[in-house]
Symmetry: C2
Subunit: 200 residues, 2 copies
């Protein structure tokens, strides 16, 4: 079922704000993953979610902000950090899911486009951090910290730096595509960072 098939809600009286908000986010996230951002307008989302554009503007300052909020919720399960107790295996499986999402869905390209626009749009850059990246970083750091507490990562390591050397490296290849982003690349990122590359 695509977003277009969802019948507009026509209940009597007002729906609770939380429910309306969740509806809008879900409609937006679904559109983003299926189609990308080109045709994602406030007009269309308002129509599909059965709300007014005023409601959208009340909650999100721009379509970029709404897109990021919708995307965050749409990919939250796909990008969850597993905890099987084996940090190496958990990082590999999470990064493989991340690579698949970024290379195989329209949402991946949409995210790269928003990162691009954020370079010259300070308000969008603030929305990007507030509605997407800061929380994604926090979730990664949380899983890495548990691994550190379990002695699977050395205690002197700043795990915030690992976020850039794992997910950040994938973003780098996506944004400046001199080399391909593959599952093998994701596995190599984890191997290099866990084992180190120094020779004998």
């Amino acid at each position: 079922m695509t977003a277009e098939d969802v019948p507009p809600r026509r209940g009597r009286g007002r729906r609770p704000a939380d429910e309306v908000r969740a509806d809008i986010l879900s409609t937006t996230g679904q559109l983003l993953l299926e189609e990308g951002i080109a045709d994602l307008t406030f007009d269309r989302i308002a129509r599909l979610a059965g709300v007014s554009k005023t409601t959208l503007y009340k909650w999100w300052p721009s379509r970029g902000a709404l897109a990021l909020d919708g995307y965050f919720h749409a990919v939250e399960d796909t990008l969850a950090f597993p905890d099987t107790g084996d940090i190496r295996a958990d990082l590999v499986s999470q990064l493989h899911a991340f690579v698949a999402l970024m290379t195989e869905t329209a949402g991946g390209s949409a995210l790269l486009q928003l990162i691009g626009e954020a370079q010259t749009d300070a308000e969008l850059a603030a929305s990007y951090r507030a509605l997407y990246s800061t929380e994604r970083r926090r979730l990664a750091v949380e899983r890495l910290t548990r691994a550190q507490e379990a002695s699977q990562i050395r205690p002197d390591v700043d795990v915030r730096v690992l976020v850039d050397q794992l997910w950040g490296s994938v973003y780098h290849r996506l944004l400046i595509p001199d080399e391909p982003v593959t599952p093998e690349f994701a596995t190599a990122l984890v191997d290099n960072i866990m084992d180190g590359v120094a020779g004998a």
Copy 2:
């Protein structure tokens, strides 16, 4: 001396094309490092370098392409890969120079802006790779390969991945600035990748 102070060349007859081209690139690179990209127009570069706009369009398809070509040449010495025989020390000093360039010059922000625009401009994306990133990657891989030949990096490591885990990690923090880019961050990138972070 700023680019504005350079007197236009008024020799008799035509200057050799190589010399004209080098002049244009040097004028562009100097402007980028000092002022960034906002006021970098073909009109202004043509005037400063004493050439026609037709000449500029003959050699570069867009001001973005000219900016990238000028930037590459302007930073070539600053970003040279030292070879003292100690890959760890050489990576740290090169990355510190890279971080300083990206955080302390107007050229750094200009580069981020061009990466941003390249996300929705396929021609600029092609210019970015052709005139900047592919060659920067090649130079990094060349130095890393010498370290691998000297047994300072394990033979089974794909050194192309290290480019993303060192310089790519810096780009990631610059493009999505949730955390600061500092010399300490650059040093940690090298320590993590050389030693690995796995616990006992």
